[in-house]
């Protein structure tokens, strides 16, 4: 019955990512490899943060505190692994450059950042939504014991939000690391922490309170990413004019 809900939520959460993968990534083998590598790095970060959580979670804290701490921990882990991914890809690029004795980048730096973002975003999205989707296939919706019947839709909206944020964060942070642009690096860290801690409001039943600020964050981060990727008001006007 709620196969409708299943497909609706899947398309909602992953629609943009699917479009990007098919139209911009699929043609470029190096971009595909980068997406997979970055997805793998996100998984590693999840493993790493869960190991740490396990060690710290054993101490007798209240559940709320444990969740809040683990969110912060997980954000730091993810950003740490994003940095490691950046390092690895750069090393790889340099190594290839030396091997082939050329001076141009073999991997397009912008494309690399973008592809890395997609890998991170899609994997985190799958990770957070797959359980919900698996249970959404049945005839039921949420709300029998706890939660509201909008739960699945809200989860999909959050997932979409984080898929997009991860793409933008990667686009911002890779050039920022190249240029040691501390402001942009800090922006990524702070917005990631902010977005994740906002989702803590979810459990209190005020999901709208979490969704709206999160999408504002998405818009702001999108602007920063647009700028980081080389866009400007002028180029935007040029595009509109070219129509």
């Amino acid at each position: 019955m709620t196969l409708c809900e299943f497909f609706g939520c899947t398309f909602l959460a992953f629609g943009p990512a699917i479009a990007m993968l098919t139209l911009t990534i699929a043609q470029d083998p190096i971009a595909v490899i980068t997406v997979f590598a970055s997805a793998f790095f996100w998984l590693l970060s999840a493993l790493f943060s869960s190991i740490i959580w396990l060690l710290f979670g054993l101490t007798g804290m209240s559940q709320e505190v444990q969740i809040a701490l683990s969110v912060i921990l997980s954000v730091l882990c993810q950003e740490g692994f994003r940095f490691l991914l950046y390092k690895t890809l750069t090393l790889l690029d340099n190594g290839l450059k030396n091997m082939l004795e050329t001076h141009t980048h073999l991997i397009d730096r912008k494309l690399m950042a973008y592809a890395a973002g997609i890998g991170f975003g899609v994997m985190s999205g799958i990770f957070s939504l797959i359980n919900v989707l698996a249970d959404a296939v049945g005839p039921a919706t949420m709300g029998l014991r706890t939660g509201s019947d909008k739960f699945i839709l809200v989860s999909a909206c959050f997932t979409l939000c984080f898929v997009l944020l991860h793409i933008f964060w990667s686009i911002i942070i890779f050039p920022a690391l190249d240029q040691r642009n501390m402001v942009q690096i800090a922006w990524v860290l702070v917005t990631h922490l902010l977005a994740s801690t906002l989702t803590l409001l979810n459990s209190s039943g005020h999901s709208m309170l979490a969704i709206i600020p999160n999408y504002i964050l998405v818009l702001l981060t999108a602007c920063v990413a647009f700028h980081a990727a080389g866009g400007s008001m002028n180029s935007l006007k040029a595009v509109i004019a070219s129509r």
Partner: protein, 719 residues
């Protein structure tokens, strides 16, 4: 050092495992669904021509809960319900044939759940059996349908035949109080509305009933399907009903010894015609729901009286004494389904294979044939009648032998406060009883059926889930003094009456001793059969091999390849109460079928009322015989012929019920449309930007160039 490291690793893995298990319980599914445990389901049975019972679709039937407490609720559902399909939740008093038919024909109902917590009152009558149980078998084979003769509405006046219909939806029975409470709460919170249209706008409390049945159409089709094999496995779609009869003779039957080349058959010591008296009772019953077949009056009253009678007879007549006559005790399985057990015995008797297949190489008793049967007494539906009321003897035969035996019964009964009234043979009309099967083959058997009803059944719950302890008015005395006006005392007196009469029949002299049936044994037997099947008597009988649990037995016959607990425990109890001790130890305590086909040996506790008493090996004449209908034995039997029982039971993968909230249809549509719109816009946006990326991310000298993100996508999506 090394050890320490590996310990840490293994500890770590263990913790990881525990947490992942913990995580499982946190899954969303557990917040979305409430599994209704302990629900009893209606399932599908088939005979040679039709299918009966219920089945859900393969993935289960889902319906919005609608509680029907009165006629108005049912009318509302049929005429106003908009958010269908529904699952109707009804109380037993509303669970009638007419309601079910109304619901089925409305086309809005996807399932029915009967709820009953023990505090609710029992309906006055509740029987899903035909008004004429086993209408097409027994004497009907001989005389055509006999039920309506002289009876306006058949033997079972309140029968609704709900059991014998093919329902288009699953039916479940829920008795768990907390689940019923949750169901009510959920219904009142989500489903109770002022206007039917409101139900369309909200998430509604719903039930999913899963009871998919593999078999369909009729037994013939599904037995044929059973023979098809897939490449890797054979999955049966149905199994024949059946089980094992328990039988025992009062005296061991003499074997003929292998001699020195003489014709062995002529030297076989066969019994004289009419020399074996039979005391029979049925061992099974039925109801609509799997696993819940109490049969207090229907089966238990007969079983316990028979066992107690056998025990008394064995005490009264020393085994060493020698008489020409013998008594055969029969406890028959599958009688509710066109007399499976008795028709198999009759079939075997005609073939000369009862009780065992003749084998010249073994010392075995000769076969018993129909001609050997003398008086046939069947105990059927006994309970304590109102004060001064008699038990009734129903019979077809009017020979002097029957009349004599009835006189003996009456004389013995009068002395014990068990008046017995003789119903003069009505023309070809006998209540449904195993005796009918025997009479259909040999009409002159001096047979009688002993019951507590003069004409129609006084048991208002025949073949239903309410034929329980309460309908016998039984209160467990637990080793204390059994009151004289109790059902235990009454049934003990019935046992004594029958035992004294059979004694007189066997020995040709009146019983002058003082032995009577043990009231405490009767008390314990009823306790075992009605309340706890791990009672001390059964524990003693199976020597503690942990059969049974603390709940009432279920008297459904089951499928033939699984031995039902009822027959195992009944056989063991018979053996325990009548066997004679031997000196064998536990390892030698078994019979050797190649040398001895008279006795069985079983390892039991020496006292029936103390399961921890020292164990002993008993020698007994108790044995089992197959109760599989001849229809499944005879090669090429025509399933539609109606001669033998052709009942089969469908195989099912699971019987489950769960409760959850079902989203309103509009919500599902909105979600799907939203998803598709987002997907479409994403493709359009990405395509647009990708085509203009050189201009948008203006090419420069520095690293800030070339392709990059798709901000517009985002804008388009969320503008």
């Amino acid at each position: 050092m090394n050890m320490g490291f590996s310990q840490i690793v293994s500890y770590f893995l263990l913790v990881l495992l525990l947490y992942s298990c913990n995580g499982e319980s946190q899954r969303l599914r557990y917040q979305m669904y409430e599994d209704i445990e302990g629900a009893y389901a209606c399932f599908r049975r088939l005979n040679g021509t039709h299918q009966f019972g219920c089945s859900s679709s393969r993935s289960g039937n889902v319906g919005v809960v609608h509680i029907i407490e009165n006629q108005a609720d049912s009318d509302w559902l049929v005429s106003n319900g908009l958010a269908g399909p529904y699952v109707a939740v009804v109380h037993p008093s509303m669970f009638t044939r007419s309601l079910l038919l109304t619901l089925q024909s409305s086309g809005k109902v996807n399932g029915v759940v009967m709820i009953n917590n023990s505090s609710a009152e029992k309906p006055l009558h509740f029987s899903h059996e035909d008004t004429c149980p086993n209408r097409y078998s027994g004497l009907s084979q001989l005389y055509g349908q006999t039920c309506s003769v002289g009876e306006k509405s058949g033997w079972n006046p309140h029968g609704t035949s709900v059991l014998l219909m093919d329902w288009k939806f699953p039916i479940f029975y829920v008795t768990d109080k907390s689940h019923i409470d949750h169901l009510y709460k959920c219904y009142q919170k989500h489903n109770a509305v002022a206007h039917p249209g409101e139900q369309l706008e909200r998430a509604l409390c719903a039930l999913e009933l899963k009871s998919h049945m593999y078999a369909a159409v009729n037994s013939k089709k599904c037995m044929k399907r059973n023979n098809y094999q897939t490449l890797f496995s054979q999955v049966n779609s149905c199994d024949p009903l059946g089980g094992r009869n328990v039988w025992q003779t009062l005296f061991p039957r003499s074997t003929h010894q292998l001699g020195n080349g003489l014709d062995q058959r002529s030297s076989k010591q066969t019994e004289a015609n009419g020399s074996i008296a039979v005391l029979a009772a049925r061992m099974d019953s039925t109801s609509m729901f799997d696993g819940l077949v109490p049969a207090s009056i229907g089966a238990v009253s007969g079983i316990v009286t028979l066992i107690s009678t056998a025990q008394l007879l064995f005490r009264m007549i020393p085994q060493q004494e020698n008489y020409d006559k013998n008594v055969l005790f029969l406890l028959l399985a599958g009688e509710s389904y066109d007399y499976i057990g008795s028709s198999r015995i009759v079939f075997d008797m005609k073939q000369g294979t009862f009780p065992v297949k003749p084998d010249p190489s073994v010392a075995q008793p000769p076969p018993i044939g129909l001609q050997h049967i003398g008086p046939f007494i069947e105990l059927s539906q006994l309970k304590k009648p109102a004060d001064g009321q008699p038990l009734y003897v129903h019979r077809l035969e009017d020979s002097s032998e029957v009349k004599n035996f009835i006189k003996i019964l009456q004389r013995n009964g009068n002395g014990l406060g068990v008046p017995i009234s003789d119903k003069l043979p009505a023309s070809r009309n006998l209540p449904p009883a195993s005796l009918q099967t025997f009479l259909a083959e040999r009409p002159d058997i001096p047979g009688l059926v002993l019951t507590e009803h003069a004409a129609q059944y006084s048991n208002n719950y025949y073949h239903s889930v309410f034929d329980d302890t309460a309908s016998l008015n039984y209160i467990y005395a637990n080793k204390s003094e059994v009151p004289n006006d109790s059902i235990q005392a009454y049934l003990a007196n019935v046992s004594t009456t029958i035992a004294h009469s059979l004694y007189e029949h066997v020995t040709n002299k009146e019983y002058l001793g003082s032995l009577t049936a043990d009231k405490n044994l009767m008390d314990e037997l009823l306790h075992c059969y009605l309340e706890q099947n791990n009672c001390s008597l059964f524990q003693s009988a199976v020597a503690g091999s942990s059969e049974g649990e603390e709940k009432p037995l279920s008297y459904y016959v089951g499928v033939s390849h699984v031995y039902s607990l009822v027959s195992i425990l009944t056989g063991a109890a018979m053996a325990l109460l009548t066997g004679s001790p031997t000196k064998f130890n536990e390892t030698d305590c078994h019979n050797n079928a190649s040398t001895d086909q008279v006795y069985q040996y079983i390892w039991v506790s020496s006292q029936w009322n103390n399961s921890s008493s020292p164990k002993v090996c008993l020698q007994t004449t108790m044995n089992f015989s197959s109760a599989v209908s001849p229809a499944f034995i005879i090669d090429g039997y025509d399933m539609a012929s109606g001669k033998y029982s052709t009942w089969t039971e469908s195989v099912w993968p699971e019987l489950t019920a769960r409760m959850f909230l079902k989203p309103p249809f509009y919500q599902e549509v909105i979600t799907l449309v939203l998803g598709i719109v987002v997907l479409g816009l994403s493709f359009a946006g990405v395509f647009y930007i990708n085509g203009r990326k050189e201009i948008l991310f203006s090419p420069g000298a520095s690293t800030e160039d070339e392709r990059a993100p798709l901000i517009r996508t985002n804008d388009q999506v969320f503008c």
